[in-house]
């Protein structure tokens, strides 16, 4: 479960002064649910997810992940999350096996547990072809498969995906979405940010449209669609963002 209440993040920039990246957003993401955070580039999605992953510290509001406060119990939070961003990379000089061993150890798993987990995930993630190859020699799709394996490797309760299909081809992106569907069925709590509306329509149960750090619309996919029955979620997104004065590169 993720519970966010009035979460804020302000960065101080020497030239621009205070930049309010996230302005008091609130939402709840339940187990077995994919919560979509929809927004344009720079809307505040990544900052929100980084705060939930305890990479950044909020400047206001509160949030709990898996029942632990993200500021007070950040170490407990990190033990229970898997974080994947489309922009993050892996270590080119490590093999797939070494990479999983490394992140398994960082998650507190023993050597035996790591070996057992690799065995358990090999078939599901087609790891056989990844384990003994250095990351630098892998294709983009192989790297993404390894990245996702890393996220689920320590069996986290909560998964945070920040535009995980960015830069992937259609086949690889579809593989990622299928996996997220599987994780949802297993009862994981999943928060998923994207600016691709068709992805959100396919996998999200509930979405929030975020613009300039504020949530402009929030609800189930159906309730969002009900705002304009004849149109898609993308149409609604454009309408909501436009009415808030947020189109035409005006940030």
């Amino acid at each position: 479960m993720i519970q966010v209440s009035g979460l804020q993040k302000t960065f101080h920039d020497r030239k621009k002064g205070d930049v309010h990246a996230v302005r008091g957003i609130s939402f709840t993401c339940k187990p077995g649910q994919v919560f979509g955070l929809l927004g344009r580039n720079g809307a505040g999605k990544t900052t929100t997810l980084r705060m939930l992953a305890t990479i950044l510290v909020p400047t206001g509001g509160t949030a709990t992940v898996a029942g632990f406060d993200i500021v007070e119990k950040s170490a407990e939070v990190r033990r229970r999350i898997g974080y994947l961003s489309g922009e993050t990379k892996l270590y080119d000089r490590l093999t797939g096996r070494e990479l999983l061993q490394y992140f398994g150890a960082l998650a507190g798993m023993s050597g035996a547990a790591v070996a057992a987990r690799i065995g358990a995930l090999t078939e599901r993630f087609l790891l056989a072809e990844l384990l003994d190859v250095r990351v630098g020699k892998m294709s983009t799709g192989m790297k993404q498969r390894l990245s996702i394996t890393r996220v689920v490797f320590h069996d986290p309760e909560v998964m945070i995906f920040d535009e995980p299909t960015a830069g992937l081809d259609v086949i690889a992106a579809r593989g990622v979405l299928t996996l997220i569907d599987d994780l949802k069925r297993q009862g994981r709590t999943i928060i998923y940010s994207t600016h691709i509306m068709t992805e959100a329509e396919r996998i999200c149960d509930e979405v929030a449209i975020i613009e300039r750090g504020e949530i402009l619309a929030h609800g189930s996919i159906e309730s969002i669609r009900d705002r304009a029955p004849s149109r898609s979620v993308e149409d609604v997104f454009v309408e909501v963002v436009t009415s808030a004065g947020g189109v035409n590169g005006d940030r």
Partner: protein, 396 residues
């Protein structure tokens, strides 16, 4: 050390050992660089000697008539042509002569009066030909001195036919072992300092700034490892690399002077017996550790602060230059003052020299180790703080 710190340490070492540049710098370079440098220097020296032997030089004489036979003495020296001059030229690198004997006027009268006489050999050390000319005719100065002494003795009424049978000479009786010990005491502390700094640079920047540049930082920060565990693991790997670099560097130097010089014909003259006992080698190693930790922590802190690899490498090169500068400060400190042992890096170099020359002062030892250990701990805390500070970590 926690299991997570060990995991970071291990991963960084694997990463480092798979970086061909680092492997070459640590494991190959020291065993190629020093022998190559020594061979090159020996070759240049022997070439210079050969050139000097074949060189024909012209030596001017001002006041030739004052010392009868001087021109013949000079002419008898192989490869030297005497030239009579009215006065000494202002420069020797452009003129007709390469060196000049200047004999003052009125030598005979001066001897008769018992006055002092100053005969000079003018040459330019900055000009190879002039320097070679001076070296070739220098024995003639001794002959002139003896001749003038005999003339003076006769003028004083003594019955002297030849120069007196006494001589005053300097003779270096230091053995190859003594020379090796002196060389080791002078150079090894300095070399250790700069090799530790050089060995740590690449790994430190790669393990910290590299995480930012390769976009792996977020993934790492979202794991269950604390920032302190991450920094300690990275600093440990940097430390291991730097110490390995220093050990291979010193081994390369030892092999060069003790083995390569004996194997390569014509380099025996360069051979030095650099022999350090096991006890001193262990002490050098142990005393190096606080400085290595300090430098590793400084470089990790800088790596956390830098925005890009280029920026990190620039900052790291400043640390390297600072280390070299402080290490060089140990040269010429025959009896270092207590206050110098409060300066990191310099204090270790000075203390290690005391170890190598059996002149350890306990107060110096405690100050050097204490100050460096304290600063190393402080820098590790600073590095952890920087790695925990999102403003620093994500600054653009």
């Amino acid at each position: 050390m926690t299991a997570r710190t060990t995991a970071v340490f291990r991963k960084e070492l694997i990463d480092t050992l798979r970086d061909q540049r680092t492997v070459f710098a640590i494991f190959v370079f020291p065993f190629l660089l020093y022998p190559a440098m020594l061979m090159l220097m020996s070759w240049i020296e022997s070439k210079n000697d050969e050139s000097a032997k074949e060189l024909s030089v012209r030596v001017g004489i001002v006041g030739e008539a004052e010392i009868p036979g001087l021109k013949e003495w000079i002419a008898a020296t192989p490869g030297v042509t005497p030239v009579t001059l009215e006065r000494a030229p202002e420069r020797l690198d452009r003129g007709d002569v390469n060196a000049v004997f200047v004999v003052p006027p009125g030598v005979e009268a001066a001897i008769a009066r018992g006055d002092s006489i100053k005969v000079e050999l003018l040459y330019m050390d900055t000009d190879n030909t002039s320097s070679a000319a001076a070296q070739r005719v220098r024995p003639i100065l001794d002959d002139i001195e003896r001749s003038l002494t005999v003339s003076w003795a006769r003028a004083m009424g003594a019955h002297a036919e030849a120069a007196p049978p006494f001589s005053v000479a300097r003779r270096d009786i230091s053995s190859k072992t003594d020379q090796g010990r002196f060389f080791a005491a002078l150079l090894i502390p300095y070399l250790l300092v700069f090799m530790v700094a050089a060995g740590a640079m690449q790994t430190a920047v790669d393990a910290t700034t590299g995480e930012k540049e390769r976009s792996t930082l977020e993934t790492l920060l979202s794991t269950a490892a604390s920032r302190g565990e991450l920094v300690m693991g990275k600093a440990g790997a940097v430390l291991a690399t730097s110490i390995t670099g220093a050990v291979t560097g010193i081994t390369g130097l030892w092999l060069t002077f003790n083995v390569v010089t004996r194997l390569v014909p014509g380099m025996e003259e360069s051979a030095l017996q650099i022999t350090i006992g096991a006890d001193k080698a262990i002490l050098l190693f142990l005393t190096m550790i606080p400085t290595a930790v300090f430098l590793s922590a400084v470089l990790v802190a800088i790596g956390c602060f830098a925005r890009s690899m280029r920026e990190g490498q620039t900052y790291a090169s400043y640390v390297y230059m600072g280390s070299v500068f402080l290490g060089l400060g140990s040269f010429g400190q025959q009896a270092p003052e207590q206050r110098l042992f409060f300066i990191p890096i310099l204090n270790t170099a000075l203390f290690q020299r005391e170890i190598l020359t059996d002149t350890v002062n306990m107060m110096h030892a405690m100050t050097a180790i204490g100050v460096t250990t304290g600063l190393a701990v402080l820098m590790l805390v600073v590095a952890t703080r920087l790695f925990s500070n999102e403003t620093v970590l994500f600054r653009t």
